[in-house]
C-alpha cells in the first residue's frame, strides 16, 4: 500500500500541470456562487445566516462537474498508452485505483472547500450555526466521492473521454433522479413496490439533505462510503478484465 502515495501525488499534481485545474476551479466557484445569488437560490432574500441556498444546488452541479474530473482518470491513460507503463510498474491494480481515486477526490474536496468565502460572508452578515455548515461541507465532500466512484468506474470502461463523460453523466443523473417522487412513481408503475422502494434509497439528494440540516446519520455516511467501496471494487475488476 506504500505505492499509493506516488500515484496519488502524480495524479493530484497532474491537475495543476495543465490549465484544467484552474479552469475547473474557477468555473465551479463562479457557477455555484452565482446560482446561490440568483433568484433560484435566493441567498439574500431568504434572510437566513446559513449556506443552505448555496449547497442546495450541489447535487445538480456535481452531476456535471464530477464527470468532468472523473472522465480522464482511466480513459486518458488508456488512450495515450500510459496504462501499459503504469501496470508494468511494481504496483497492484488496487493501489493504482485507490491512488487515482483519492487524488480526484482530494481535488474535488479542494474545490468544495475553496467556497469558504461564502461561509465567511454569512459569518460576517449574521450569526450562522457553524455546526450545520461543518456537516454540510462533510456531506458535500462525501457526496463528491460517491459521484467520483461512479465516474472512475465508467472511465475505466472506455478509452474515449467523450463516451466516458456521457456514461458518467447518465449514471449520475439516475442516482440523482431516484430521489424525486415523480421519477420513483414511474418506477413503481414498472417495477414491484419493494424494488422501487429499494431503488429510491439510492438517491444522492435524500442522503445529502440530512447533512444540510446538521444531521450526520451513520446511515447516510455508510451509504456514500459503501457506494465508493463498491464502485472502486468494480473499477479494479474492470481493469483486470
Amino acid at each position: 500500500m506504500r505505492q499509493i502515495t506516488p500515484i496519488f501525488k502524480r495524479e493530484f499534481l497532474g491537475y495543476f500541470r495543465s490549465p484544467v485545474a484552474y479552469v475547473f476551479l474557477i468555473a465551479f466557484l463562479v457557477i455555484s456562487v452565482s446560482l446561490a445569488f440568483s433568484r433560484y437560490g435566493g441567498f439574500f432574500r431568504a434572510g437566513v445566516a446559513g449556506l443552505e441556498s448555496y449547497f442546495t444546488f450541489f447535487p445538480w452541479l456535481f452531476m456535471f462537474i464530477v464527470p468532468a474530473v472523473g472522465m480522464r482518470l482511466w480513459s486518458e491513460e488508456k488512450r495515450s498508452g500510459t496504462v501499459e507503463l503504469l501496470f508494468t510498474l511494481p504496483i497492484t491494480t488496487l493501489e493504482a485505483v485507490l491512488g487515482k481515486f483519492l487524488a480526484g477526490w482530494a481535488f474535488l474536496a479542494l474545490a468544495v472547500l475553496l467556497s469558504f468565502p461564502m461561509a465567511l460572508t454569512v459569518g460576517y452578515l449574521g450569526d450562522p450555526d457553524w455546526g450545520i455548515i461543518a456537516t454540510t461541507y462533510l456531506g458535500a465532500v462525501l457526496m463528491a466521492g460517491a459521484y467520483l466512484g461512479v465516474c472512475a468506474l465508467t472511465s475505466a470502461l472506455t478509452k474515449n473521454q467523450v463516451i466516458s463523460f456521457v456514461l458518467s453523466l447518465g449514471a449520475c443523473a439516475i442516482l440523482l433522479f431516484l430521489g424525486f417522487s415523480s421519477f420513483t412513481e414511474t418506477l413503481e408503475g414498472a417495477l414491484p413496490m419493494v424494488v422501487a422502494d429499494a431503488l429510491s434509497n439510492f438517491s444522492f439528494i435524500t442522503h445529502f439533505d440530512a447533512f444540510t440540516k446538521g444531521i450526520v446519520d451513520p446511515k447516510d455516511v455508510i451509504f456514500f462510503l459503501s457506494l465508493m467501496g463498491f464502485t472502486l471494487f468494480l473499477n479494479v475488476v474492470a481493469l483486470e478484465r
Partner: protein, 239 residues
C-alpha cells in the same frame, strides 16, 4: 533469467500467440523478429505481466509472473512500444515519479534519476515537459524509465523505431554496453539490428516460434542469401 513456456493468448477467434517457448540467459541480447501482427508485442506484454496469458507461464529469475506479478515487475525494465509517458510532466518529474513507484525515496531517488539521465544523455531536456520533446528524446525518456532501477532483465519493444540513423546507433551502443550483466529481449523488424547487436535470434510467425538460433546459424540456413530473404522464406505464410 527469463523463461517462457508455452505462452498462449487468444483474441476472439484469432490466436495471437500460440505456444511460444524460449529462455534468455544473463548476457544474452535476444532479437525478437517477426512480421507485424505475428505476436511479438503480445508475448512481451505477457512476460511483463501487463496481459494475462490464456495458457503457459513466464518466469523471471524463477518467479512466475502469473503468480507474483509485482515481484516480477520489480525485476524487469520494460520499454513499451512508442514509449508512452505522461506528456504534461517534465523529464525530471516523470523519472522522479518512476523512482518513487519503484520504492526509491530521498537521496536514493535523486541518485537513480541522475544516473538514468546521465546514461541516456537527457540532461539538456531535464526541465522540459515531455510533450515538447522530439521523438528521439521521447524514446530516450522511455529508456531512462526502463533502466532507472538497474534491472536484471530488460524488455524493449521496438526501441529504435522511428529514430534517425544516428539515434539508432546510439541506442544500440547503449544496449550493448549494458548487456554484460543483463538479459535483454528486444523486438524489431529491422534485420540489420540483429546483426549489429544480438547474439541470438528468435523469429516468430503467426504466433509460433519458427527459428531460435544465433545470427550466424540463421545465415547458414541459406548460404549467400540476404537476411531479409531468409526472413521472408521463414515467415512467408504470414502476410
Amino acid at each position: 533469467m527469463i523463461e517462457v513456456k508455452g505462452l498462449v493468448k487468444t483474441y476472439g477467434a484469432k490466436r495471437a500467440v500460440d505456444g511460444v517457448t524460449f529462455t534468455v540467459k544473463r548476457g544474452d541480447i535476444l532479437g525478437f523478429l517477426g512480421p507485424n501482427g505475428a505476436g511479438k508485442s503480445t508475448t512481451m506484454k505477457m512476460i511483463t505481466g501487463f496481459l494475462r496469458p490464456d495458457a503457459g507461464t513466464a518466469t523471471v529469475d524463477g518467479i512466475d509472473v502469473t503468480v507474483d506479478p509485482v515481484r516480477v515487475k520489480q525485476k524487469l525494465g520494460y520499454l513499451p512500444e512508442s514509449a508512452p509517458a505522461y506528456p504534461e510532466m517534465t523529464v525530471g518529474e516523470f523519472l522522479g515519479f518512476i523512482a518513487e513507484v519503484r520504492g526509491f525515496r530521498g537521496a536514493a531517488k535523486t541518485a537513480q534519476v541522475d544516473r538514468a539521465i546521465q546514461l541516456t544523455h537527457l540532461a539538456p531536456v531535464r526541465k522540459q515537459t515531455i510533450e515538447t520533446l522530439s521523438k528521439g528524446f521521447k524514446q530516450r525518456v522511455g529508456f531512462a524509465q526502463a533502466l532507472l532501477h538497474d534491472p536484471a532483465a530488460l524488455i524493449l519493444d521496438e526501441p529504435t523505431d522511428g529514430l534517425d540513423p544516428n539515434q539508432k546507433n546510439e541506442v544500440r551502443a547503449l544496449i550493448k554496453n549494458m548487456s554484460a550483466e543483463k538479459a535483454v529481449i528486444l523486438s524489431t523488424h529491422i534485420l540489420e539490428e540483429v546483426d549489429a547487436i544480438c547474439n541470438r535470434v528468435i523469429i516468430i510467425s503467426r504466433g509460433q516460434v519458427v527459428a531460435d538460433e544465433t545470427p550466424a546459424q540463421l545465415r547458414a540456413r541459406q548460404p549467400g542469401a540476404r537476411l531479409d530473404e531468409i526472413f521472408r522464406s521463414l515467415t512467408h505464410g504470414d502476410i
